[in-house]
């Protein structure tokens, strides 16, 4: 729903003309490498000074650090030895680029619920094109506020910049999160006064800026284009064209992936099932965010619980319907988790989902008769019974096109589409209960006997399965005992033996 509104706005806008003003928002996450690793830091150490480091030209340098470390004078760019000299207690974490990229993907997914145009910037940032997204949030300022709130909830430090094109937005990135949309003239003014040193170019080019006496972007853009092209390379000219909205920004848009795969790591290990539930909840919330972004529901999810040493344990949760609600999924996971034998300590929890169906539109419809709700409730009941008791405890009767009663009526696992075959109705009454195995009937003094003496009321009705198998030729009779209960008996043609096959109830 949310997505479709956004998309329709977007298409309407581009249909009208491309002259409508784009509003680009650049989100920068200055502490991304630190905040990616923070959840893995033990709780008792989280308040200590922490810094992430990465290898640059054979020297480990500080990439970013928390405020506690800043208070000691640690800052980015310092070598590790200097930082440790300043702050002996500093907890040094090596940067994990892979996890960082995954975190950025998650943030892109989050941003995708604010705008349909999201572009990933390698440099720990995201671009969002937010023009036309204001109606959903009732104004751009409300959108920015909602976005800030969401990022704070995710415990992510973010700063932003707003411009008329992606490059301008990145150049105008402010040291704090702006929640007020600046006027176009303000943006233009800010852009022109931006220091040229913020432009990411080679040192040689920066030097030539200095030699020319160019300080701000306004100075640079004031020069004639032909003069610039003689002095600077094509790359810079390209950028200038993009800054002037003369060339489009051609970067691939973010699209949620085809399958969902996410994990939570806990180096200390999780020792009991109760403590597993919190990281599982986090993962399911991320899954649901993904499902909302893709406008689909999942049909199955898969959990992997991996210990530090030893075999990993997995658990599959199959849904009879489909779901995009994390609390239901968590409830089902919890029920099934009770039956699972886990490794002694779990270090990594992985959630995987790759079976999706399009979200049923009926959910949004005004459902007058409540059929949809009843169906939803039945699906949820089947799922929770399945999770707690196991699929082998559940079955549904199925009617097959066959004449032998045990073949005509079989049991199937629920959730499979049932094909109800229309059989030729029998003239004689049929019972409600079928014995799983026909029970042999004894003969006592010319009287049939099963639990008590039985008397034939009516019959026979011949039922045969395959005519070439004599033992499948049966004559069915209706019998009763002297207390009024009615039974369904048959006599095998081949050997004249009697069996009870069902009870009329």
């Amino acid at each position: 729903m949310l997505r479709s509104i956004n998309k329709s706005h977007k298409t309407n806008k581009s249909d009208k003309s491309s002259k409508a003003q784009d509003i680009w928002l650049y989100l920068h996450f200055p502490l991304l490498s630190l905040e990616t690793l923070l959840p893995q830091v033990p709780a008792d150490q989280a308040h200590k000074p922490i810094a992430t480091v990465s290898l640059e030209k054979n020297i480990q340098r500080v990439l970013c650090c928390n405020t506690q470390a800043e208070a000691w004078g640690v800052e980015s760019g310092l070598s590790v030895s200097t930082a440790l000299a300043l702050c002996p207690e500093l907890l040094v974490l090596p940067r994990k680029i892979e996890q960082e990229q995954q975190h950025l993907q998650q943030l892109a997914l989050l941003a995708y619920s604010f705008s349909p145009v999201v572009i990933l910037d390698n440099d720990t940032g995201l671009w969002l094109e937010i023009s036309g997204c204001d109606k959903l949030f009732k104004g751009y300022n409300a959108l920015l506020q909602a976005l800030e709130k969401r990022l704070v909830y995710e415990a992510i430090t973010a700063v932003n910049g707003i411009g008329q094109n992606p490059l301008a937005a990145k150049l105008l990135c402010q040291p704090s999160f702006q929640t007020q949309l600046p006027k176009p003239t303000e943006i233009q003014h800010l852009l022109m006064t931006t220091d040229l040193s913020r432009l990411e170019t080679s040192r040689k080019q920066q030097q030539s800026f200095e030699q020319l006496g160019l300080k701000s972007l306004g100075d640079l853009l004031a020069l004639s284009r032909s003069a610039l092209s003689r002095r600077f390379d094509a790359e810079l000219m390209n950028r200038i064209a993009q800054l002037n909205n003369e060339k489009p920004f051609t970067a691939p848009r973010f699209q949620p992936g085809d399958s969902f795969h996410d994990l939570v790591q806990n180096p200390q290990g999780i020792f009991n099932k109760e403590s597993l539930l919190f990281p599982m909840k986090t993962l399911l919330q991320r899954l649901c965010q993904y499902l909302v972004a893709r406008q689909c529901h999942c049909r199955e999810i898969e959990w992997h619980f991996e210990p530090l040493i030893g075999e990993s344990q997995q658990m599959q949760i199959q849904l009879s319907g489909s779901q995009n609600n994390w609390s239901t999924l968590l409830m089902l996971s919890r029920l099934q988790l009770d039956r699972l034998e886990l490794p002694r300590s779990v270090e990594q929890i992985i959630l995987h989902a790759d079976q999706f169906i399009e979200a049923p539109m009926a959910v949004f419809n005004l459902d007058l008769f409540g059929d949809q709700q009843a169906a939803q409730q039945s699906c949820e009941l089947i799922d929770s019974l399945n999770a707690r008791l196991g699929i082998e405890a559940l079955s549904q009767p199925v009617l097959n096109q066959d004449y032998l009663p045990e073949l005509a009526s079989t049991l199937a696992t629920p959730g499979k589409p049932i094909k109800t075959a229309a059989n030729k109705p029998l003239t004689a009454p049929q019972p409600l209960w079928l014995l799983t195995e026909p029970a042999p009937v004894q003969m006592r003094n010319q009287q049939l006997y099963w639990r008590q003496p039985l008397t034939i009321i009516s019959g026979p009705e011949r039922l045969c399965g395959n005519w070439w198998q004599a033992e499948q030729q049966r004559d069915y009779y209706l019998a009763c005992d002297n207390r009024g209960a009615r039974y369904w008996l048959f006599r095998e043609s081949a050997n004249q033996r009697w069996f009870v096959h069902g009870l009329f109830s």
């Binding site: 039945s378 008791l389 209960w433 009779y477 207390r483």
Partner: protein
Amino acid sequence: MHNNNIASVLTRTDTWRGYSQRLPRSTIATGHSHLDRLLQGGWPVSALSELLPQQPGIGELSLLLPTIKYYADNHQLCVWLDPPYQPYAPTLVAAGIALDKLLIVRSKSPAEWLWAAEQSIRSGALLLAWAKQKPPRYADLRKLQLAAANSNNAAFLFSAPSALDAPSPVALRLELQSLQVNQLLLRVRKMRGTASGEQLQLHLGEASAQRIPFTQLPADRHHGYSSHAVLTLNS
């Protein structure tokens, strides 16, 4: 907040209010007009009912077929918890019941039985539960009765007649006896708001007195022919 609490208490079916003559009960028609009259409207909704057939096979399940059909037609699930035998699909289809609305659940322990029963009641399904050899405890039944009171559905429990010796928290206890084939004698052993002991004879079909003595059963002639044919082939 306080008003809300009072309102929610007043909407409960088991809140007694001084000026009303009788409890406002909602019911589901049983499909038999005489039985509806006996039960003052039909099977109680938001309550657990206990049926105690004297022995299986006397017609206790056919009594509920109209109710099962009603639920299935409303797209609600009907959960059969630990039925003694396998339901026979052709008969159910003949009664107009959609088979995909039936769910058979087999429990492995009393705890699972109770959990599945409670879960079904709370999820808006029609519950038909069969007590296993060991009858459920009073506290367990009370739990189910409370769950049913909070739901908007009927729930049925089939117990052995020996359970009548023990008290039960259910809203309705109905003893079923068979007088002869297709004739049921229903005896109300407990019903909220009325005295117990009312009886009703119910004809489920025609009571045929026809009996075929064993010796007069038709001989299996078809088989006779085929064995003869085999013989001639051999010779």
